[in-house]
C-alpha cells in the first residue's frame, strides 16, 4: 500500500458509573493497566463518562493528544454507543474509530468478586484496544422512509394510535383479526373510576376510524408476512372471506332475519357466549364495519353446500357472495404499531373455583355483558338457572399472582372488581362480597372509588378464596355456592354462602403471542408479553427499529394507560416517518468481487433475502439496505470472499488475541 502507515494513538476511558461499576471493578487498576498497553496514549477513569464533562474529555484529548482511536469501558452499547460515537465525531474523528466495552451488564453487575471482576474488565479492555487498531472509517447509509403506518389490532390501543396518525395526515392501515374493531373495551359496560359508559366513549372513535379518509380498515384480516426494515416494510395482509361484500353491505340485517336458522342458537362471542347469534350475524349493533359476517363453521351452505340460501335472496343489494376466497393484500409502510391486546385468563385453569362445573360461577367479562343494557339480558342480572342473586361473591386475583398460573399482578382486576361490585349491587340489589389479597388502587381517583364502594356497603374480605363448592354444612347453605376463605383480617376461616360467584380473571398474552412475536421479529418477556426496548426510557419501542408497541400486548394496563401509550407509539412512529429518512448501521456484509467464485451457497442462507446472484458477472451481490449484519453469509462463504464492516477478520481475531493475552 502506498498510504503511509499511521501511528495508532488510542485513548481509553474507564467509567465508574457512580458505584455501578466502581463498586465491583477497581477502575483505577483498569485505567493503569490500559495505559501500559501498546498504542495507548491516554488512559483515564472518570465518574460518569456519559455526562457532558465526560464527553468533553474525549473531545479535548483527541485534539490535544492527536488521538485517532477511542475505547470507552462503560455500559451496554444499547444505551451509550451513540453518545460516545457522537463525542468522537465532535473531536473530529470518524465515529467508527470508537469502540465500546461493556463492563457493567457483562461484568460488575454479574460478578461478586472484585478481583475477578477487575481482571475481566482488564481483559475486555485489552481486547478492545487490540480490535480498535484495525477499525476503518465508515459512514452510515441513509434510506428514505415510507410515510404510511400499519397498526395491528383494532382495540382501543390500535384505534387511538390509528386516529392520531391519521389526524397528522399519515396514511394508516388498521388490521383487525375479528369481524369488528372495538376489542375488549367494546364489551365493557361502564369504565372505572368515572363509571362512564364504555360504548358511549368508544363508538364515536370507532366511527371516526371507519370514516377517516386516511385510514384503510381491514377487519377479519391478519398480517401474514412482513419483510424489509425500518422505514421500508413490505407487508402481506390476509383477508378472510366473510362471504358478504363490504362494498355492498349496508348492515340492514335483512339477511339475518332471512337465515334458514329461525332461532339464534349459537353462542355469540361478543356476549361471551351468554347471548346467541345465527350463522350470519353482526356481532353487536355498533360493530365497525357494520357488515354482516358468515361463520363458516356454522353456515349450512359453507359446510355442506346444501341450503336454500334464503340470505342471498333477501339481500336486494346482492352483497352475499359465497364465492369469496381468502385474499392477500400487499402494502408498503415505514412503521408498524403492534396493538394486539390480551387474552382473559381461562378460569377453568383454577378448578378450585368451579368455573364450568357450577353454572352460577361467572367470569368478570361475562358479568360485563350481564350488566350491560345492550347485553343478552338487557342489563338484568339473571343467573344461568333463571334466579336473581341475593348474595354475590367477587373473587380477585384469579389467574394472577400465582406460580401455577400467572405470576404477575394483572393491574386492572382490583378496580374492575370494585366496578362490578357497584354495578351488580345497583342492578340487582344483592349483598356483595369482594375477596382480595391486596387492594391495588394506585390510579387517579381510584382510591376515591374504593372509598365510595366502602360507603355503599359492599363487604370486603381480605383473603384469597380457597375454594367454591356446593357441599352443605349448615341448612343456610342448601342450594348455594359456598365460598371458603380465610378472613385474614379476622384470622379465622369463613364459609360464605352466595348465589353467584364472579371470578376476577387476570390478563395474559394471546395464545399465539409467540407466533406474532416471530412474525414481527420482536421479543417477549418471560411472562410472554411483548418486550419494550427499555422499561423506562423506551417503553413503546421494540428491539426492532420501526416497530412500536401499544396497549396490553406489552403488559396489562387500564384504558387511560393504554390510550396514553397508544398516543406515545403514534408519536414515535410519526417522529420516525416525519424525519423522511433513517440511518442504517454500517455493520453490513460486502463481497470482495474478485474473490467470489459464484458458488451461490450464500444466497439461500440469508434470512433477509439481501443476497442475489448476478448472472452476467457470475457473482453474488449484497443489498446493503436489506443486510442486517447477522454474519451468516460471512461464516458460510467457502472462499472467504464475504466480509463484514465492524467484524472484519482482523478485528475479530485481534479482539480474541487481546482478551486471551493475559490469561
Amino acid at each position: 500500500m502506498s498510504k503511509p502507515v499511521e501511528e495508532i494513538r488510542i485513548g481509553v476511558y474507564v467509567c465508574h458509573c457512580g458505584t455501578n461499576i466502581a463498586g465491583m471493578v477497581d477502575v483505577k487498576n483498569v485505567a493503569d493497566f490500559a495505559s501500559r498497553l501498546p498504542g495507548v496514549t491516554v488512559s483515564r477513569e472518570y465518574k460518569y463518562m456519559c455526562s457532558d464533562p465526560g464527553q468533553e474529555l474525549i473531545r479535548q484529548d483527541i485534539k490535544e493528544h492527536r488521538l485517532n482511536r477511542i475505547v470507552v469501558a462503560s455500559c451496554s452499547p444499547l444505551l451509550h454507543e451513540e453518545t460516545f460515537r457522537a463525542a468522537t465525531a465532535k473531536g473530529g474523528l470518524n465515529p467508527f474509530f470508537f469502540h465500546l466495552v461493556n463492563i457493567r451488564e457483562h461484568d460488575s453487575w454479574v460478578h461478586e468478586n472484585r478481583q475477578d471482576a477487575t481482571a475481566k474488565a482488564n481483559a475486555l479492555v485489552h481486547a478492545a484496544v487490540e480490535r480498535v487498531r484495525s477499525h476503518k472509517a465508515l459512514t452510515k447509509k441513509q434510506v428514505p422512509v415510507n410515510p404510511a403506518v400499519l397498526v395491528v389490532g383494532g382495540g382501543i390501543a390500535g384505534i387511538h394510535a390509528a386516529l392520531t396518525l391519521a389526524n397528522a395526515g399519515k396514511k394508516v392501515y388498521l388490521v383487525e383479526r375479528e369481524p369488528t374493531i372495538g376489542g375488549h373495551m367494546a364489551k365493557f359496560d361502564k369504565t372505572f373510576p368515572t363509571l362512564d359508559c364504555a360504548a358511549c366513549i368508544l363508538t364515536p372513535k370507532m366511527s371516526s376510524v371507519k370514516s377517516h379518509k386516511n385510514i384503510t380498515l381491514w377487519s377479519y384480516s391478519e398480517v401474514s408476512r412482513i419483510e424489509g426494515y425500518v422505514g421500508n416494510f413490505e407487508v402481506t395482509v390476509r383477508r378472510q372471506p366473510r362471504y358478504v361484500r363490504e362494498d355492498l353491505c349496508v348492515g340492514c340485517m335483512e339477511c339475518i332475519d332471512a337465515c334458514v336458522f329461525k332461532e339464534a342458537k349459537f353462542p355469540n362471542e361478543f356476549d361471551e357466549g351468554l347471548g346467541k347469534r345465527k350463522p350470519i350475524y353482526v356481532p353487536f349493533p355498533q360493530a365497525t364495519p357494520k357488515v354482516a359476517v358468515i361463520d363458516p363453521d356454522r353456515c349450512l351452505n359453507v359446510k355442506t353446500g346444501k341450503c336454500k340460501k334464503s340470505c342471498v335472496a333477501s339481500c336486494d343489494r346482492g352483497a352475499i357472495d359465497f364465492t369469496q376466497k381468502p385474499e392477500d393484500r400487499q402494502i408498503k409502510v415505514g412503521a408498524v404499531v403492534v396493538a394486539t391486546g390480551f387474552k382473559a385468563f381461562d378460569a377453568k385453569r383454577s378448578p378450585q373455583y368451579g368455573y364450568g362445573v357450577y353454572p352460577n360461577v361467572y367470569t368478570s367479562l361475562e358479568v360485563e355483558r350481564l350488566v350491560n343494557a345492550s347485553g343478552p339480558t338487557s342489563g338484568e342480572v339473571v343467573l344461568r338457572d333463571g334466579r336473581h342473586p341475593k348474595t354475590v361473591g367477587i373473587i380477585h386475583c384469579v389467574g394472577s399472582r400465582e406460580e401455577h398460573t400467572n405470576r404477575w399482578c394483572s393491574r386492572v382486576c382490583c378496580m374492575y372488581s370494585l366496578k362490578l361490585a357497584h354495578l351488580v349491587k345497583e342492578h340487582s340489589g344483592a349483598e356483595v362480597f369482594n375477596f382480595y389479597i391486596d387492594m391495588r388502587t394506585p390510579g387517579k381517583s381510584f382510591e376515591e372509588f374504593y372509598q365510595k364502594l366502602l360507603k355503599e356497603g359492599v363487604h370486603f374480605v381480605r383473603g384469597k378464596v380457597a375454594e367454591v363448592n356446593d357441599w352443605v354444612l349448615d341448612p343456610s347453605e342448601q342450594g348455594k355456592l359456598v365460598i371458603r376463605v380465610e378472613d385474614t383480617l379476622l384470622g379465622t376461616v369463613r364459609r360464605i354462602p352466595v348465589d353467584m360467584v364472579v371470578l376476577g380473571v387476570g390478563l395474559e398474552p394471546h395464545a399465539d403471542a409467540q407466533e406474532v412475536r416471530r412474525l414481527f421479529n420482536i421479543s417477549c418477556g418471560t411472562e410472554g408479553f411483548f418486550l419494550e426496548r427499555h422499561p423506562k426510557l423506551a417503553p413503546v419501542n421494540t428491539f426492532t427499529d420501526g416497530i412500536f408497541l401499544a396497549g396490553c400486548c406489552q403488559g396489562p394496563k387500564d384504558i387511560p394507560d393504554t390510550v396514553a401509550q397508544a398516543g406515545a407509539a403514534a408519536a414515535e412512529a410519526l417522529a420516525l416517518i416525519d424525519s423522511g429518512h433513517v440511518e442504517l448501521e454500517p455493520n453490513t456484509a460486502y463481497i470482495v468481487e474478485e474473490e467470489c467464485s459464484g458458488c451461490k451457497s450464500c444466497v439461500p442462507l440469508c434470512p433477509y433475502k439481501a443476497i442475489s446472484y448476478v448472472e452476467d458477472k457470475k457473482k453474488a451481490v449484497i443489498n446493503e439496505a436489506l443486510c442486517k449484519g447477522c454474519g451468516t453469509c460471512v461464516g458460510a462463504c467457502p472462499s472467504s470472499s464475504i466480509k463484514q464492516n465492524l467484524f472484519e477478520d482482523e478485528q475479530v481475531f485481534s479482539e480474541i488475541r487481546g482478551v486471551l493475552a493475559d490469561v
Partner: protein, 304 residues
C-alpha cells in the same frame, strides 16, 4: 395389557395393610390373582415412617424410605406398588428430596453407609389405582367382568396423599380415575366434591373430636349426594370413615351406617371373586347392606 402388568410388580404392603387395613391387602392380592398379574412382596421391608417420622427426624424419615427403595432396586426391572397412600407418598418424597436436595442426599448416603446398605437406584413407585387405570385398563376389566354391582351408588373417595403433592396418580384437584374405572364397569358414582379432602389421618386417634367431625362432614356429604357406599384407596381413609360411624351418629344425631370399601374389593367382586377372599367380613359399618348386596349364587360357588 401393558408390559409392566405382564412382568408383575414388586409390592410394598406397609404396616397398615398387615393389621387395620388387612382387607385392603387381602382384596388387592385376590384382585391381582383374578387379573393374573404376579405380585412379589418386598423382602424384609420396613415401616415407611409415614407422616410421624418427618415430624421427629427428617433424616431418619428419608432413611426409612431409602432402605425400602434400596431393597426394591435389588429386583430390577419391576415397578414398586405401594397401595397405602401414606407409603406411596413417603416413598415418592424420599426419591424426590434425595435427588432435589444435596444435603438430604448426603445425609441419607451417610446413614446408608453406616448400615452397610447400598444407595437406591431408580425404581418407579406406583399406586394401584394408577396401575389399574393405565396398565390394566378399563377395557380389560370390562372383559373379565362376571357380576353386576348390586350395591347402589358409590362415592369415590381419593383422600389426600395419593393425589398430593405428587399428582401423577391423578389430578390433585379433581381426580377421576376411580370414577372412570367404576363407571366403565357399570357402577354409578356420585359427583363427590369432598373426594380429596383429608380424612384427618392419625388425628382421629390423637384428637378424636376433631377427627370425628371431619369424618362426619365426609359421610354427611356423601349421603346427601346419594351415595350408598364409599370406596377408598387408602387404609387410613378406610378406617377413619368405617370405625367411628356409631360415635359419629351418636354425636350428630344423624344415623350413619354406610359400608366403606376398598376399590379392589368392589372390582374383585365384579370379577367374580369371593366374599371371604375379598375380606368383606372385615368391614365394620353397613354390614347388613353388604349381606344384601353380595350374594354368591350356587353356580358361582361351584364355578369358583
Amino acid at each position: 395389557m401393558s408390559n409392566e402388568s405382564e412382568k408383575g410388580y414388586l409390592y410394598f404392603p406397609g404396616c397398615s395393610l398387615k393389621s387395620t387395613g388387612r382387607a385392603y391387602e387381602e382384596s388387592l392380592l385376590e384382585l391381582f390373582r383374578l387379573l393374573d398379574i404376579p405380585l412379589q412382596e418386598l423382602d424384609d421391608w420396613n415401616c415407611c415412617g409415614a407422616t410421624s417420622y418427618m415430624g421427629i427426624d427428617e433424616e431418619a424419615a428419608f432413611v426409612l424410605g431409602a432402605r425400602n427403595l434400596s431393597i426394591a432396586c435389588q429386583t430390577p426391572g419391576r415397578d414398586l406398588m405401594a397401595p397405602c397412600s401414606a407409603c406411596y407418598m413417603v416413598l415418592r418424597k424420599t426419591q424426590d428430596y434425595t435427588s432435589k436436595y444435596p444435603q438430604v442426599r448426603r445425609e441419607v448416603e451417610a446413614a446408608m453407609k453406616r448400615a452397610d446398605l447400598p444407595m437406591p437406584g431408580q425404581v418407579k413407585i406406583r399406586h394401584p389405582l394408577e396401575i389399574l387405570y393405565h396398565d390394566v385398563g378399563a377395557e380389560r376389566l370390562k372383559n373379565l367382568k362376571k357380576r353386576n354391582w348390586l350395591g347402589g351408588t358409590i362415592a369415590c373417595y381419593y383422600g389426600c396423599q395419593a393425589v398430593r403433592p405428587y399428582s401423577d396418580v391423578d389430578d390433585a384437584y379433581n381426580p377421576v380415575k376411580m370414577d372412570e374405572l367404576l363407571r366403565a364397569m357399570g357402577v354409578q358414582t356420585i359427583d363427590y366434591c369432598l373426594k380429596t379432602k383429608c380424612c384427618a389421618g392419625v388425628l382421629t386417634g390423637t384428637v378424636p373430636p376433631v377427627g370425628r367431625r371431619v369424618n362426619y362432614i365426609l359421610l354427611k356429604e356423601a349421603v346427601r349426594k346419594g351415595a350408598q357406599a364409599v370406596v377408598t384407596i387408602c387404609p387410613l381413609c378406610q378406617i377413619n370413615l368405617d370405625a367411628y360411624q356409631k360415635e359419629i351418629s351418636a354425636e350428630s344425631g344423624e344415623r350413619f351406617d354406610i359400608p366403606i370399601l376398598y376399590l379392589p374389593q368392589v372390582l374383585g367382586w365384579m370379577l367374580g371373586g369371593r366374599k371371604k377372599e375379598l375380606a368383606f367380613h372385615r368391614c365394620i359399618a353397613g354390614r347388613r347392606y353388604l349381606n344384601e348386596w353380595l350374594r354368591e349364587t350356587k353356580e358361582e360357588e361351584a364355578y369358583v
